[in-house]
């Protein structure tokens, strides 16, 4: 059993959690609302080479979903690491 973390360690854990959230949600916003809605017409002037996809159209109907998946995957890994930092190697969140 590892030692119980101090209040300072907990505060650090929460701060790091919030900064991961901020970063990942910014990407989430830029990809979906930015590329898929707000700037879709500008991006549509570009074509993905070798395909019939206009870039904005592709982001709106395909790309945003792939990015969402990657974001959740990164979050899962990041939080698992944060949990270990706080609780030690065998730290497990019951």
């Amino acid at each position: 059993m590892s030692e119980t973390p101090s209040a300072a360690a907990r505060a650090r854990y929460w701060r790091k959690n919030l900064s991961w959230l901020g970063g990942l949600l910014s990407v989430w916003f830029i990809v979906s609302y930015g590329c898929g809605i707000l700037f879709v017409d500008q991006l549509d002037k570009i074509r993905i080479p070798g395909t019939g996809f206009k870039l904005g159209f592709w982001f709106a109907q395909q790309g945003s979903i792939y990015v969402f998946l990657v974001l959740i995957a990164i979050y899962v890994l990041a939080m698992n690491r944060l949990d270990r930092e706080l609780l030690g190697e065998e730290g497990d969140d019951a």
């Binding site: 395909t51 019939g52 945003s64 979903i65 792939y66 998946l69 730290g91 497990d92 969140d93």
Partner: protein, 587 residues
């Protein structure tokens, strides 16, 4: 003997599509029932949240089946094939919400570790009033949703087995009743895993066939960006050309205003994150870590369907235009006639030349156009997915498979919703508010009775669909976004959020959103888009309701007393792993 004979006569009269559909439907139904018997729930814990024993991959699949309703399976690709690029609001809206769920809600609510969303609201805001408001929202949102599912079951039965829609709804009711009432969350979860497999197979197999037919690429996601057959022309460019020629506008360009697109997408995302039947799935896994992982699996399994759907939309649209536009009515294939019988395809030969004119030029300017250019064909967009395999001349078993997939999608969602309703009644309303000394055995019985009652009510509305079923979908998402979402987010991320602030925010956000939708959908149906406030459609107004909710909740919380210390402690317990507290706890 007599009934056996008439059965044989009936079977002989069925066309091959019906036989395949019936066969596959019976097989899958038997499979679901078998699972339900195997996974019978024995305690309230198993009934409400499957005893927290579901592995995260299985939970991800079940969440995906729970989430993907008749609307996702049958409706969405059809909507996209008529809306073109604007259809992205559903694609992004219904997947982007999972990012919010995985990052902002699921792990914390799992760590909180009770049964329901109203549980969290009630405890965090230390009040049964807050709990009741949440219960009412949960029941209302779930009911509007479940009626649509039952109706979807009726449509599939009516079209593919040629039985009455009523009989179809009855069969569906019987089946859901059986495994939801008996198995509870545990039974539902494992049937949903099976239903996910059926529905994803049924959705992707025809898409792969058609992708090969049209583009030579077996992966639909890549295929719809490829070249059409050997024409040397990209499929999307060809569809743009066809659509523009017929007056529908460019498929790959948007027709909707940017601001409205923004609001609708946001309302769908926030609504997704706030829907009680989705949130409760994350209570069923073993650990907080597993809640995060299963959100990933859920989105992965959902993304398979959601990235294929826009490809199906393009294939179906191209095939439809190629098959019907400017072709003689007498030469239409049998699927066209079959759907005409259900009135979902209507051909009105205005100029009497026997040729189908299909155009997007509306009747408004028809007066200036010669008769030749008037639209003579109405196609209900909901039939695109179901008719797609027939339009593409795929084998009969594929058509039957799609029908079974539609049933799996509708039934799995209906079961999840019924469970939320029964939990809300038995646990949140009776056990937590009215009669706290209720024994577990009685509570379990009550939950089963409530689930049974909910099946009957949902079945009634499925058979007698009020004409506003389509309209109330806007309700479910808008209301979830404008009520639950801010209350839960503030509850986790802002210790200062208190009872008066959050309850006022929930009630006002809800009333504002409901009022706007009721006004434009029911009271003043004639009101056109130019009367919408800031150009926001009723589908998108939940975003504004949510902002109002946040502003009021924060403002009023700051102006009133902070919540009691034990609530602030509860928030800490939700934020940090349990082991971070062993020094302060005597466990």
């Amino acid at each position: 003997m007599h009934s056996l004979l008439s059965n044989n006569v009936y079977l002989a009269a069925m066309d091959p599509v019906q036989k395949w559909t019936l066969g596959i439907a019976v097989l899958t139904f038997a499979f679901y029932i078998g699972i339900a018997i195997w996974a019978k729930a024995k305690s309230t814990g198993e009934f409400y949240i499957a005893g927290k024993g579901v592995p995260s991959v299985a939970n991800g699949m079940a969440t995906a089946a729970d989430w993907m309703s008749a609307a996702s399976f049958i409706g969405m690709a059809g909507i996209i094939s008529f809306a073109g690029r604007d259809g992205a609001r559903y694609l992004m809206g219904w997947t982007g919400g999972y990012v919010l769920l995985a990052l902002l809600l699921a792990p914390y609510l799992r760590r909180f570790g009770k049964f329901t969303v109203p549980d969290f609201i009630g405890d965090r805001y230390y009040s049964n009033i807050a709990r009741l408001v949440a219960v009412v929202c949960a029941i209302f949102v779930s009911f509007t949703y479940v009626c649509g599912q039952m109706q979807g079951v009726g449509i599939v039965f009516a079209r593919f087995l040629k039985v009455d829609a009523e009989a179809g709804v009855l069969i569906g009711m019987g089946l859901v009743f059986f495994y939801a009432v008996m198995g509870g969350m545990k039974g539902i979860t494992y049937t949903q895993v099976a239903q996910y497999c059926v529905l994803i197979f049924a959705f992707t197999v025809p898409a792969i066939f058609i992708a090969i037919q049209m583009t030579g690429n077996p992966i639909p996601q890549l295929g719809f960006g490829g070249e059409y057959k050997d024409s040397g022309m990209y499929l999307l460019d060809r569809l743009d050309g066809l659509s523009t020629e017929l007056g529908f506008g460019n498929y790959t360009e948007g027709q909707k205003g940017t601001f409205d697109m923004f609001c609708i997408t946001a309302a769908l995302m926030l609504g997704t994150a706030g829907l009680p039947h989705v949130i409760v799935r994350f209570y069923t896994v073993k650990k907080v870590k597993a809640a995060r992982t299963s959100a990933f699996w859920a989105l992965l399994f959902i993304a398979i369907l959601y990235t294929v759907a826009p490809a199906v939309a393009v294939f179906a649209r191209s095939n439809l235009l190629d098959t019907v536009s400017n072709k003689p009515y007498a030469e239409m294939p049998s699927w066209f006639k079959n759907w005409e019988e259900t009135d979902l395809i209507v051909f009105d030969d205005k100029n009497g030349d026997g040729i189908i004119q299909y155009t997007g030029r509306t009747d408004k300017n028809a007066a200036e156009l010669p008769d030749l250019e008037m639209n003579e064909l109405t196609v209900n967009r909901d039939i695109m997915v179901l008719a797609n395999p027939e339009i593409a001349k795929l084998p009969n078993w594929v058509v039957g498979l799609v029908a079974a997939g539609g049933l799996a999608a509708a039934l799995s969602t209906a079961a999840g919703l019924l469970l939320v309703i029964s939990t809300a009644v038995a646990h949140d309303l009776v056990k937590k508010t009215i009669k706290p000394d209720l024994s577990e055995k009685k509570e379990l019985l009550l939950a089963r009775i409530a689930a049974g009652g909910a099946v009957v009510v949902a079945g009634y509305f499925g058979m007698n669909p009020p004409d506003y079923v389509a309209a109330v979908v806007a309700f479910a998402f808008g209301l979830a976004a404008s009520s639950f979402f801010p209350a839960i987010i503030l509850g986790i991320f802002w210790k200062r959020a208190n009872l008066p602030g959050v309850v006022t925010g929930m009630v006002v956000g809800l009333l504002f959103t409901a009022g706007y939708i009721v006004y434009f959908k029911f009271l003043n149906k004639a009101a056109g888009e130019d009367e919408w406030w800031l150009g926001i459609s009723p589908e998108g107004i939940g975003t504004f309701g949510m902002i109002i909710n946040f502003v009021l909740a924060i403002g009023i919380s700051l102006a009133t007393k902070p919540p009691p210390p034990e609530v602030q402690h509860l928030v800490d317990r939700v934020r940090f792993p349990r082991k971070a507290f062993v020094d302060e706890e005597n466990e």
